[in-house]
Subunit: 209 residues, 4 copies
Amino acid sequence: MAPRRATTTSKLSQRGSRAQARQREIIDAAAAVFSEKGYHGSSTRDIADRVGMQQGSLYYHFPSKDAALAEVCRVGVEGFVAGLETIIADEQPAEAKIRAAFANHLKGLHDRRDYIRTFLFSRHNLPRDLRQEISRLSRLYESRLEALLLSLQADGAVRNDLDCRLAVLGFLGMCNAAAASHRPDPKIPLDAYVESFATLFLSGVMLKS
Amino acid sequence: MAPRRATTTSKLSQRGSRAQARQREIIDAAAAVFSEKGYHGSSTRDIADRVGMQQGSLYYHFPSKDAALAEVCRVGVEGFVAGLETIIADEQPAEAKIRAAFANHLKGLHDRRDYIRTFLFSRHNLPRDLRQEISRLSRLYESRLEALLLSLQADGAVRNDLDCRLAVLGFLGMCNAAAASHRPDPKIPLDAYVESFATLFLSGVMLKS
Amino acid sequence: MAPRRATTTSKLSQRGSRAQARQREIIDAAAAVFSEKGYHGSSTRDIADRVGMQQGSLYYHFPSKDAALAEVCRVGVEGFVAGLETIIADEQPAEAKIRAAFANHLKGLHDRRDYIRTFLFSRHNLPRDLRQEISRLSRLYESRLEALLLSLQADGAVRNDLDCRLAVLGFLGMCNAAAASHRPDPKIPLDAYVESFATLFLSGVMLKS
Amino acid sequence: MAPRRATTTSKLSQRGSRAQARQREIIDAAAAVFSEKGYHGSSTRDIADRVGMQQGSLYYHFPSKDAALAEVCRVGVEGFVAGLETIIADEQPAEAKIRAAFANHLKGLHDRRDYIRTFLFSRHNLPRDLRQEISRLSRLYESRLEALLLSLQADGAVRNDLDCRLAVLGFLGMCNAAAASHRPDPKIPLDAYVESFATLFLSGVMLKS
DNA sequence: TATGAATGAGTATTCATTCAT
DNA sequence: GATGAATGAATACTCATTCAT
C-alpha cells in the first residue's frame, strides 16, 4: 500500500548495488522492529528473523545495533527537509504554503512511518556522537519551518504576536501525534488529516467573531 | 521547585502509611528512571540505587517491573481527568474553558513530568492486560476533551466544520510535544506555553481577514 | 598435597568472611582454568562449572573476567616479595642467601603454581591499567633481587664483572622454566630443583680449574 | 634489520613457488599476530588484514587456524637443532661449544622472535596430534643439548655432580626469558646477552675461592 | 522489611569456517 | 587465487526474579 522505503544514500557502504539492496532490506526490518517494540525491546534476533537471516550475519552489513538505529533515524528525518525546501522556494500564497508543509510532513509520516516512529521514540537511545548528528538534521528541519513562518509573518500574512518557535513545536506535535498510536486509523484518509490539521493550525478552533 | 509527586491512591497495598510512603518513593524513582532511559533501558538496579535499596528488596513492595510501570503510567494519566471535570462543570465562556484545559494539561505535564513522559514513551511496553487499564483511563480523558469541544460546538462557539476528534489529537499532540525534549527549556515559563498554545489553538496562525 | 591457595587480602570486597571464602573459591577456580587453557582459551563457563555455579552468578562476585585475571596475577606475584625481604634482612653468608632466594621462588611456584603460570602466560591479556599495577609488583620483585646481588657484589662475594640485571633475568628464567611444562615432573622433588638451580647459578657448569 | 623469516619447507603445499611465497607471507603474518596477542586472542581477520587479504581467502592457503599455528611453531623450533648439530660435530674446547650453543639459541630467538614466542606461549593451544609433532621436535632439541653436556661431562670438562637434565632446563629458561618480554630491550646487543648468559652458565655467580 | 546470593534466560557481538561466483 | 556473503556456535555480560536468613 505505502512505500515505506528508504530513498536516500548515506555513508554506510558504497559497495555494489546488491549489497546496498541487502542493507536496505535490513534497515527496513530494523525500522519495523524498532517502531513496534522500541530500541531496547528489540533484539538483533528480531531483526534478523524479519530479514530471514542468521543473527550474527547482520554484522556483516552493520557494525552494531546502534549504527542501525542511527541509520533508521537519519533516513526518517532526512526526507522532511528536501520537500520543505521546495515549498519554501515555490511561489504560493501563505495559506497554501502552510497547507503544503502539513501535507509534506504527514505524507512523510505515512510513507516512512516506521522510520519516523523510531526517530520519535528511540532516538534517545543513540550514543552521544550519533545522536548529535541526528539532532543536527532535525534542528535543521525545525529551523527551516520557523524560517517559513517568520517570512510569512514579515509579509503580514501571519499574526504579528505569534511566537514562531512555539508554533513550530505545535505544528510538529500535532502532526507527530498522528504517528504515536501503534496502528493508524485506516478509516481516516491522509487528506483528511492534512485538511483538518492545516485548517486548525491556520484558523484555530473558534468561530470568527 | 515543582511537586512531581504522586498523589492518588491505587489498589497497590493498603498497608500502613509507612509502607505507602516507601511505595511512593519507589514509584517516584521508577518514574524518574523510566523517563530518562525508557522501560527496557532501565534496570531494577537503577531504580533500587535511586531509592538507596538493594535490587531484590524492591520485590517486597512491587510484584514486578511491569507493575511498577503500570502504576507510574496510571498516576501520570489519572491526574488529568479530575482537573478537566471541574473545568467542564464550571460556568465559563468557551474561550476561557479551552484556555483552562490547556493550563490543566500543561500544569500536569510540569508537575508529573517523569510520570507523563513514561506514559507517553513507555506505555507500549506494558503487557496487554495492564495496558488496557491504562488505555481506558487515557481514552476517558480524550473523550471528555472531545465532549467539551462538542458541547462548545453545539453552543455555536466553535466552528461547525471542526472534526473534534482530530482537534483533540491536535490539542494533545501540541501539549505533549513540550514533554518530548529530555529537559524542558527553563527560560520559557509555563504561562508562556499555555498562552501560546491556547491562542494558537483558538485563533490559528493567520491574520483575521 | 600442596596448598595452592591465595593467602593475601586485596581490595576486592571487604564483605563478610562467607563472601570472602566464596571469592577465594572463585579465583582458585579461575587460576586453575587460566593456567590450563590460557585466558582467551578459558570461558567464564569453565570457571563457573569448576565452582559449581551458574555462569552469570560469577558476576555477583567479580565485575569482569579481566578483574578475575588481575586478581589471580596479583596473588601470584605478591607472595614472592615478602619472602625475599626476610632473606635480605637475615644475617647469612652470600651463598646461603642466594640458595634461600631460589628456595623462596621455587616454593612459591610449587604452592601457587596455577596463579604463577597464569601470571607468566596470561598477564599480557590484562587491559593496560590493570596490567600496570601487576607490572609494578613484578618489577618490585626484580629490583629487590637485583639489589640483593648488588649488595653481595659490593661485599666482594659475587664476581665483579657480573651484570646483575641479566643475572636476575637468568635467575627468573631458570626458575620459571620449571613452571612452563603443563604438569611438573613428580619424580623430581622440590629440593632437587632448589639444589640444582642454586648450585648452577652459584658455581656454574665448568669444573673449577 | 633482522631476517625474522621462515626458511624451511614443510609438507604444506608442494605447489609452485609463487604459492609458496604467499604461504610464507601468511605464516609470517600469523607468527606476528600470535606472538603479539596469543592464539585465542588473534582472529583470522587479524592475520588476513596483515597480509592484505580477505578473511575467507586464507583458507585457500591453509586448512585451518590450528594448522597455521602448528606451522609457525614448527618453523620456530626447527631452526635450533640444525645449528646445534654443527656445534656438536665441530672440534672445539668445551667452553667454546657451550658459548656457541648460547649464541645459536639466542640468534634464533632474535631472527625468529615471533615464531618462537608463539611456540613458547601458544603451543598449548594445538590439538593433541599436532602438538605431539611439535613436542617431538622440541624434545629432540633438548636431548641433543643434554647429550652435549653429558659428553663434556664424560670428558671431564663439566662438573661431575651436575644434573644435566636440569641444566638443560636452566639453559633454556635463561635464554627464553629474554623472549618473554613483549619488546626486547634494544639497548642491549645480542652479543651482550650471549656473553653474560654463557659466562653465568659456565662459571656461576660466585667468586672463585 | 530488607539483604545477599543465586538462577536461568537473554543479548549484542565475535569468529572460524564454508562456498558460490 | 581471491571475494563477498553467510552460517552456527560460542562468549562475556545483564537482568528480572526468587528466596533463605
